[in-house]
Symmetry: C3
Subunit: 134 residues, 3 copies
């Protein structure tokens, strides 16, 4: 099954929990055992998995990244968003999550986040849900 | 094939080589060609691949991370382990490794590491070994 | 389908666009729907996806990494390339990219990069192109 998730971001750096979107797609797919694969096609954004209980965690992650990958630095790229490109490569463009008994296999505190590093923008994630081979 | 690897960590930050555990599971699966997929369900730990010859390499990786993601900083998360959450997202929650001729395809110096960033704790990794589709 | 990509690097730190190599292999595989999986077997190199339009982006990524993972630091590993090992774990050893309609699914500005962090060297990437299960 192929699907897309549309995300609108509202600030420059932001982590948006897309776990519920993925859960709904997995349910819709009716796939019992397989993998949920997510691709971020943007070069100044990324995907990650982290705690979704205390909102201070994502705040601290973004602040921590900003400290060692500052927005302004010895950069040459004329668009002025080199820090966002660096952060994108640090977190990575894709995730693959197991599906068992028709559910995403995530740890108790894990949520899936789309990470905006150069917003606000409209973004689109690619999702593919694939059953295990027989 | 589904399996779990239990890991007990003994210090706050630690890289534990789980290559042998995976090798044993691949052998047990009798799968000749496929993928070995590993998921870390914890938000203050991660998985990575790096050199397993000189133990100074993992020592230097942990020390290097600590330098630019210090334990104490401008963090708000009350549990005091925000640095561990940041490191978890930098290294990532999962790995997928090819299986060819019933063996993991790793480079000469590569080992698979569970990375504890907020220990000591008891941790559990999810492993799934999947054959290639016919 | 199994294949390899040989890469010769010419400086210590370098990002080499291998998108065309992958595109050619996907075409050669004649697989319409599936995944292209790439593994880097070296512990001082990595794979990433980032912008391939303005060459200043990769220059800035390498310079940014060098700033917070400096070549010389409090390292013990005798080979003197601990910074390269750290960078390798930050970017990661593998990528998996969707194939749809016999093409890699990449964003408009996305290219696939082999990242050399301890060159110059000769490197070899493992590629496997797998169809979706029926």
């Amino acid at each position: 099954m192929k699907a897309q998730i549309e995300v609108a971001t509202h600030t420059r750096a932001e982590m948006i929990d897309v776990t519920q979107n993925l859960t709904a797609l997995v349910k819709q797919s009716r796939i019992q055992e397989g993998f949920c694969y997510i691709w971020n096609p943007h070069t100044t954004a990324a995907l990650t998995v982290n705690e979704n209980a205390d909102p201070d965690v994502t705040r601290d992650i973004l602040a921590g990244l900003e400290r060692f990958v500052p927005r302004n630095g010895d950069y040459r790229h004329a668009e002025g968003n080199s820090a966002a490109h660096i952060k994108a490569s640090l977190f990575g463009p894709s995730l693959q999550i197991m599906i068992e008994d028709a559910r995403l296999v995530l740890g108790t505190w894990q949520g899936v986040y789309f990470c905006e590093f150069d917003g606000p923008r409209r973004r689109r994630l690619q999702v593919r849900i694939v059953p295990l081979p027989e």
